[in-house]
Symmetry: C2
Subunit: 345 residues, 2 copies
DNA sequence: CCGGTCAATGTGACCGTTCACATCGAAGAC
DNA sequence: GTCTTCGATGTGAACGGTCACATTGACCGG
């Protein structure tokens, strides 16, 4: 490539890509006819269509999305607002959001809000709005996000995961509470009566729902509850919390709000010279692909992150089109492995 | 379609967002002056600029990217081609690509090629090209990608990670070989002489480089090499391979090409009634955040995925601008934890 | 045979921005 | 005092699509 920097007056117009009019000229029709072929309008004679398609092929024509967006004022783009991408769950969901969107001929742009403060979130939203996204899928700590939404009175449709609050039409309903209840019930049925809950950050809707599921199940079974410990999803936190907790050993089981924290916990249990599940039972949440290879293989609650992503797109595109398709809730399932057993005593 | 359009009551343009001309009218200047303010052109009188900015503020003006892209034929968008997003390394890099891109006022769109066959990859490229991306960051199995690139003679700049082949200006150089050598040397220095290598899929450039590093270091130290085992990055594979390998027990150490496979390996070692590191030493690669909580905490090679992402963007934007900024190579570092020790005998 | 409907196509304006070029003073240069 | 330069601004035409509307035959009913 030549590096003629700013001058460039010579080549400029020459190598612009073929436009609808170039195709029209070659196919000997009007540009509007080409446009009709593009949008497969019904009343185009087959022979004409073929001629146009041939011309497109020959010129390697590609429709210009910017031009289309300009005139229709529809970008065919949806945004994803996310905070951490490095975690298995969000990543998987994002991936399937993207696949589903592409399927529907939408493009996805993502905006990351690395810090969960409101300014950062507003920034991320702003970035998406600048792209003229038609809708936004939110995969992030939602409490903060909502205050940001209010502050900037967002005008595009968005979807989130269902909270315990009424988000109604905006939310894909994942029954986190049911999953958390199943995990908790499993421990109770094994005979545990002193169960701690390692919760996630409370501004994540999932974390809150799981915590509520835990508390509800405990109380339904008349098991005395202990105050949940609020964590940050990381294995490091699970390790530290576990180390701290084990100084007292006043419990026989822990339900962790995700698998990473459970991993840290397992580490802490070993470091304390104890055995899981003999001394302490542990249940995780998410069923990341590594969970079955933890030591011991982790009993956890499986979530279909890919399905969540698909459903988000389905709902969002529906709302963009003015409908409100509400599918059935997605229910996580308990997967029993080896990190849980009857309490020792 | 229901054609329930607006009855001709009021303006139909009422809904469209404010344009440059609306701002111009309000600020009592020409649209071109507004454009100049937008692109901070030097010769604008301060008072004029202020007037325009005030008008923008009042109308909540946002530049229309589509219009700008149309006329400049520059989309200010870069694409990411990726295969798996669910893994820690790629996710982290993608996240930092996005952050760096946003910093430079670029937008990122991602295209996923879930299956590594050429058709899928061509599809993904196609999707990106449709967005008129100005450049592409490739985070995917590269061998297949390259054949796809050839087939569709890609006209936009792209960057990848450095392979052992000469990619020259297209690649950010991550010295995977050095990392792999460090890991291997560590095992050799501990006294191991029978070392297996669990490699990644060979169409991933990283996998190949790590394998070559392993082989080179082994041969430099006159340690007899065994044929590497080609895996798929998953813990499941590590487990299965480990189980298989341990039927013979003709080795004392394994260098795994990533941490997930190492995790599966640890699982297999325990299942065989053996102890890591007493019986078998294991070294991983990547240093995912969970690695320090594995049992035993994993000796591994740390990679700065975020830095990789940043460098990809730096290089790509440079190339888009016609430069070729080549930074120093990124060198991974060995992190010694508890999964390695002297061989028992 | 004539008006009407409809399938197939064409015409010109418009979306919101930038670009090339024009204009118009004011400030030096001589 | 006139010419030139240049800073500050304006004018109209792109860019590549879609939209609303016009046009043309062919077919059909009465």
């Amino acid at each position: 490539m030549s590096t003629e920097s700013t001058d460039g007056s010579a080549g400029r117009g020459a190598d612009r890509a073929a436009s609808i009019r170039d195709v029209a000229r070659l196919a000997d029709v009007s540009h509007q006819t080409v446009s009709r072929v593009l949008n497969n309008h019904p009343s185009i004679r087959d022979t004409t269509r073929d001629r146009v398609l041939a011309a497109m092929e020959q010129l390697q024509y590609r429709p210009n999305r910017a031009a289309r967006a300009l005139v229709t004022s529809r970008s065919r783009t949806i945004g994803i607002l996310t905070s951490t991408r490095a975690h298995y769950g969000p990543s998987t969901s994002i991936q399937s959001v993207e696949a589903a969107a592409r399927e529907a001929d939408y493009t996805v742009v993502t905006a990351n809000a690395p810090h969960p403060d409101e300014a950062t979130i507003v920034d991320a939203f702003d970035h998406l709005i600048d792209q003229a996204v038609e809708g936004i899928v939110i995969i992030a700590p939602q409490v903060r996000v909502f205050s940001a939404i209010e502050r900037m009175n967002l005008r595009v449709p968005y979807v989130t995961l269902q909270s315990t609050h009424e988000l109604g039409a905006n939310a894909v309903h994942v029954d986190q509470m049911a999953g958390a209840r199943a995990a908790t019930r499993h421990l109770i049925e094994l005979g545990h009566r002193s169960i701690y809950h390692l919760a996630g950050p409370q501004d994540w809707i999932e974390a809150e729902a799981r915590m509520r599921g835990f508390l509800a199940e405990m109380s339904d079974n008349d098991v005395p509850t202990t105050a949940p410990i609020l964590g940050d999803w990381t294995a490091d936190f699970g390790y530290r919390a576990g180390t701290e907790l084990l100084r007292f050993r006043d419990f026989t089981a822990v339900f962790s709000s995700n698998d990473q924290m459970a991993l840290g916990l397992l580490h802490a249990i070993r470091d304390a010279g104890l055995d899981c599940p003999r001394d302490i039972s542990v249940v995780g949440f998410d069923d990341i692909p590594e969970a079955s290879h933890f030591w011991p293989p982790l009993t956890t609650v499986s979530q279909d992150f890919a399905e969540i992503g698909r459903r988000c797109v389905e709902l969002l595109l529906g709302r963009i089109a003015g409908e409100a398709p509400q599918g059935p809730p997605i229910t996580p399932a308990l997967i029993v492995r080896n990190s849980t057993s009857h309490p020792a005593f």
